[in-house]
């Protein structure tokens, strides 16, 4: 009983740490695409772990948590995918460390690279 609550709370804590890392990532990363990478991945797993931990902590909420997890897993990549496509379409600059941009080559556009590296 107590062990189960402790386990659930620890899983929720790990999830909240991942959420925090995702937020830290979108502050620290140098360009939009890298921000989106950390933003999508960390927040997805962070939310899943937090909800799962709460579901274990309060066992009668577990089915509802699983439904929420299913919706988040389905909707979260879609929004970031759409946003990445729009950003590349409008020519949001990539960071200077970028090594290749096959999509710009495919569309015969110059590779959008920012002039100065942002100091974080």
């Amino acid at each position: 009983m107590a062990i189960r609550e402790l386990l659930g709370s620890i899983i929720a804590l790990i999830g909240s740490l991942f959420l925090f890392l995702g937020a830290l990532g979108i502050v620290r990363m140098p360009d939009l695409y890298n921000r989106m990478q950390t933003g999508t991945k960390s927040t997805t797993l962070g939310t899943i772990l937090t909800l799962l931990g709460i579901g274990i902590y309060r066992l009668e909420w577990l089915p509802q948590m699983l439904i929420l997890i299913a919706f988040i897993l389905a909707t979260n990549p879609v929004s970031s995918h759409t946003l990445a496509r729009a950003a590349h379409f409008t020519g949001i600059p990539l960071t200077r460390k970028t090594v290749a941009d096959k999509l710009a080559e495919e569309e015969h556009r110059p590779i959008p690279v920012e002039e100065e590296e942002e100091v974080v």
Binding site: L6, A12, L13, G15, A23, R35, M65
Partner: protein
């Protein structure tokens, strides 16, 4: 003990909200701010569930469900608008 860890987790999530808001204030382009909005909506889904755990009411979870379903519509609308279509 378990309750204390949940409190700690909630405060960490709150710090996450503040950090994402920092990116929203700083963000040079509209797309950067949209990334901040995306992250904020997902973080607030987790935050709402944690609040529901505190006050111990199941009805609060419905708000989290509304967020989980509808949060991405705003982001997609902004992305389509930036792209020029809508």
């Amino acid at each position: 003990m378990a309750e204390f860890i949940i409190h700690l987790a909630t405060f960490i999530v709150l710090f996450g909200v503040i950090l994402a808001s920092v990116r929203f204030i700083k963000g040079p382009t509209a797309a950067d701010r949209t990334v901040a909005l995306d992250v904020l909506t997902i973080i607030s889904t987790a935050l709402i569930v944690l609040i529901a755990l505190f006050v111990n009411r199941v009805i609060y979870l419905d708000v989290a469900l509304v967020y989980a379903i509808l949060s991405f519509i705003g982001v997609i609308a902004v992305a389509r608008f930036i792209e020029g279509g809508l």
